[in-house]
Amino acid sequence: MIQFEKDIEDSEIRIIGHDLVPVPDGPQPPRKPRRVWRWVIGLALLIVSALIIDLIADRVASRRTQNLYIDEPSYFEPLMESEPLVKVQQIVDHPYDSVFVGYTEIRDTMVNDIPIRIYTPHHAEMTLHLGRINRQDTTIVYVAQAADVRADNGGIVGAFVLRGEPKAWGLSKKGFCASIDGKVTIGVADNSPLFERATERGGDFFRQYPLVDRGTPIFNEPKGKAIRRAICERGGTIFMVETLAKESFYDFAQALADMGVYNAIYLVGSTAYGWAVDHQGIAHEFGEDDCYAGRRRMPKNTSYIVWRRK
């Protein structure tokens, strides 16, 4: 007979629908004693106890009320009425709704010897945010800095649209990302009609360094190595990527292309702060949240991509 659940050890494998495949070459691991009988006995005791308590309670209740309700039906009937109520309660208390709860899937992998973390939001929508982010906002499942800020005047680098309102114009970087009517588009172009469409439709738009253009890695000017981040599109899925070691722009872009990314643009890397919330509701922070503590003030035009639960 095939056993399920705990009747397998970490050292064993089993073809589903078949028996265990024996571990070759070496002693079999010690098996834990089966606890099935303990469960059966425990369950039987519980059922018997519940029946006895139920019987006693009903007899007491019927004695108290029999003088007032002599013609009422037997005490077994109310039990039948309570059944649907239990079912409703079970539905309300169901701990997990696999369809509607937004979260970020976090996975680590290696590409070209570069350790990479992939953040894929599920059941969430992306918008842009300008200014300090509210860390208590429980609707957020992923947040990371989006556009760069000019060192000379604190302005946003490149064109920027926030909920339909243009905040900056310019083309210092050819990569763009737009979020319009719930659809995120990433691409590389000098002029994108999505800037105008974002202003017309109340959408968001920002520019960054292009990393991958239709499957081809792009060479960018900045030198040196740092923690790199990107927002990417592959096969219609939008996800964010972060290197877990300092990498050059070029190696990062090449790794993204080798991952099969079709389009990708940069997100602010290095110590820029952000976080992702996994399916258990646990926030995974990256960067430095105290980067702007003390005398160093956060530029007012610091921008973020924010994925919120739908």
């Binding site: 399920f4 589903i16 495949v21 539905i91 997990y96 696999s98 894929t120």
Partner: protein, 124 residues
């Protein structure tokens, strides 16, 4: 006429997941829940323990359930996507060698058994 491909169905009291078996890459244990990773990269939480999932697969697919292999307490994999096994490094890679690659770890004993099983397929 060919019979339609059997779909796996995981119903709960409030929702239902229906998926072709070949589109499942692996299912991992996540406490009282399980995480189903699909070939299109989507990840779905299932409110069942891994043992319950294993039973559903066996009940619904019968002998066709042998496409899936339970590895230890916390993993069910689709054998079609086994791409790389390294026993000393305890490394298992599931990939379609085109669009996805998932690296995971398992015990040396389990991986040795899996490797032997795959080697046997050569002679079949």
């Amino acid at each position: 006429m060919n019979s339609p491909m059997r779909q796996l169905i995981f119903p709960t009291s409030i929702d239902l997941v229906r998926i072709a078996p070949e589109r499942i890459v692996y299912i991992s244990s996540d406490g009282n829940y399980s995480t189903l990773v699909q070939a299109d990269g989507e990840v779905r939480m299932l409110s069942f323990q891994l043992g319950q999932i294993e039973k559903m697969i066996a009940d619904q697919l019968g002998s066709a359930g042998n496409r899936f292999i339970r590895i230890g307490k916390s993993l069910i994999i689709n054998r079609s996507y086994i791409y790389y096994i390294n026993v000393p490094k305890q490394k298992l890679v599931l990939s379609d060698v085109a669009t996805f690659s998932h690296t995971m770890s398992a015990s040396k004993e389990a991986l040795k058994s899996l490797k032997d099983l795959m080697e046997k397929e050569i002679t079949l």
